[in-house]
Amino acid sequence: MTATIQAPAPTTTPARGVETLTMAQALNRALRDSMAQDESVLVFGEDVGPLGGVFRITDGLTAEFGDQRCFDTPLAEAGIMGFAVGLAMNGMRPVVEMQFDAFAYPAFEQVVSHVAKLRNRTRGALSAPIVIRIPYAGGIGGVEHHCDSSEAYYAHTPGLHVVSPSTPADAYALLRAAIASPDPVVFLEPKKLYWAKGQVELDAPAGEIGTARVVREGTDATLIAYGPSVPTALEAAEVAATEGRSLQVVDVRSIVPFDDETVCAAVRSTGRAVVIAEASGFTSVASEIAARVTERCFHHLAAPVRRVTGFDIPFPPPKLEHFQLPSVDRILDTVDELNWEDA
């Protein structure tokens, strides 16, 4: 069985075909379409109302749906999260925005002790279908506390889904699926990709949570990435191709649930793998991927699964962040170390 959660078929929204959108626009469209379709969807947080969010993801929602559906709250993240839990207990589908990754930490107790556990504690009598949107990770020259990659904290917490899109199309489809999900979803939006453009199929069949995708075919080794690292992985594969090495790229998309089938099939097909993620490497999602891929593909591996991750340091200041971010060169250096002499 695969853990896919279908968004309800978009019955009220007419077909609109394919448009070229930035990821920010795609997310905004997903919110609008979900709000139009389901009255119980509420969008709230800090500055998401008239301002439209500091990244403008909620632009126009208050104007379109009124300030009962999209509104600003007092400045308190635990408050926002606990309030969302109560709204969800009473029939609403809250979509909350944490303004930046590190500013979700005040809500940590609410997320871990309540959002993640409500269904389980009550054997399904109550649930918390909350989407926690977090502008996430670095690459935009942000000052301290504005560039954390916090996925490990959520991925380690049973009861949460954790996803991160790398394209506008996935951003749209995954956010719609997240809002439709009966369970809480931590939705990590790579800040540096907000302005990246791509084609978005707005009347596509509903997106899914729980599936990875091979985004570039290749035969020599597999790069496994998600969110902000996918474009970097693709770029590395492009460069490697010019050097005669064929790298496959898998976009994980859904960290929880993890798509072992797709990822492991990919790794088995090449026998070598590098996991790429921006977060500090120690006890990270990259560690998990390396560990589980190894457990499942050991006898197909010509080399240990390697990780290219952020270092185990606080996120650096703007002028130094390029040292921290996985780079094409660092990825290719690591690929070079995958025991090719045995090949």
């Binding site: 635990a78 408050g79 606990g82 839990v85 207990m89 002790s113 269904r119 389980n120 649930p257």
Partner: protein
């Protein structure tokens, strides 16, 4: 836009209608407590006390791991539930089992948490009672969310949100009161100030004139009430519920009461308070004063009292039976409610346990 400052500040002394001697205070005289309501309340008090005693006994017998008793706080427990209507919600803590039962939840289901079979033992939707909260003050925010959802749908639901004196120090208390005030949510924040947070006395928790004085900082009216006086509690909480239902927004009520027993049976209260302090509260017992009053008014006699005791005993017996019944631990439910549907990983993990168990059974069968 806010009310005048004076209307946000609590009265100088906790509101009292029935004195410790069971007589009406001047305020009580003018308030004219409702006989029916007091009699109903007294029955609930008797049941609540019996529940506390029974649960305590079950701990000693090893049927419950632990029990945070509300012995001495039963008037607060009972009033918090009795002032609510069917459409309302109650948000209790670990100490508020008696309030949950007073709202109609099966006490055996309530004690499941402490028996250890599962976390929440009752279906919160049935009586609109949230699962009992352990992480302090977190539930106050949920209460605001539930209330706000009702407001958005135009329902006249009121939410009664309970917490202790210690919990008022948590950030979530602050954020909940502020959210409720800003969204004008129909929530009654009801603080049972029992003078202790485990071993920490109120004086180390707050140096405010009273906890009810916290209301004004949010634009919420604060009131304080004698927490061992059922008549005053019914009145103050009842008014708060009415105002909230009428769209006047949240209220903060602080009840002055006392935790007569240790924090739980696992606690040793002799380490931090004198028996004399506890004794000083015995004559303020919330049951005695209502009983004295009702007997004085001829609304209660020995026969009626015996009836109430018997009714409470029936429930106690059911609790004993329920708690003495062992439930076969079923590993499957560990994996069934983490998400609406098991993830592939949870399927694998559940299968591992099932496999272990079937091999165990095979081994046992082979013996």
């Amino acid at each position: 836009m806010h009310r005048g400052i004076d209307s946000l500040l609590p009265s100088e002394e906790p509101v009292q209608h029935l004195g410790a001697d069971g007589r009406l205070t001047p305020l009580g005289e003018s308030a004219k407590p409702d006989d029916e309501a007091l009699l109903e309340g007294y029955a609930a008090l008797v049941a609540a006390r019996r529940l506390n005693d029974q649960a305590y006994a079950l701990v000693r017998q090893g049927r419950l791991a632990v029990y945070p008793s509300s012995h001495g706080q039963e008037a607060c427990q009972v009033a918090a539930s009795l002032v609510l209507g069917r459409q309302d919600w109650l948000f209790p803590t670990y100490r508020d089992s008696a309030a949950v039962v007073a709202r109609g939840v099966d006490p055996v289901e309530v004690l499941v948490l402490l028996k250890g079979d599962w976390h929440a033992g009752y279906d919160p939707r049935e009586h609109q009672v949230a699962p009992q909260a352990t992480p302090l003050a977190t539930q106050l925010l949920h209460a605001v969310g539930v209330a706000h959802a009702a407001t958005l749908r135009g329902e006249d639901t009121v939410v009664m949100a309970l917490c202790g004196d210690g919990a008022t120090s948590e950030g979530d208390f602050h954020e909940a009161l502020n959210f409720a005030a800003v969204f004008k949510s129909p929530v009654v924040f009801f603080v049972q100030n029992n003078e202790y947070a485990i071993s920490v006395p109120l004086a180390r928790q707050s140096v405010a004139p009273s906890l009810a004085h916290k209301g004004i900082g949010y634009g919420i009216p604060g009131e304080r009430v004698d927490g061992n006086d059922l008549a005053a509690l019914l009145s103050v909480l009842g008014d708060a519920v009415t105002r909230a239902r009428d769209g006047e927004g949240p209220q903060l009520v602080e009840a002055h009461t006392y935790r007569m027993q240790a924090h739980t049976n696992a606690d040793d209260a002799t380490r931090y308070r004198n028996d004399a302090d506890v004794q000083a509260w015995v004559h303020r017992d919330p049951l005695t004063r209502v009983e004295t009053y009702l007997r004085g008014r001829g609304l209660l006699d020995d026969a009626k009292a015996a009836d109430l005791a018997e009714a409470a005993e029936v429930v106690a017996a059911r609790v004993r039976d329920g708690l003495n019944t062992d439930v076969e631990p079923d590993h499957r439910k560990l994996f069934d409610h983490v998400y609406a549907r098991r993830t592939p990983q949870l399927e694998e993990q559940a299968a591992l346990v099932a496999d272990e168990l079937s091999r165990e059974t095979a081994t046992e069968d082979a013996r």
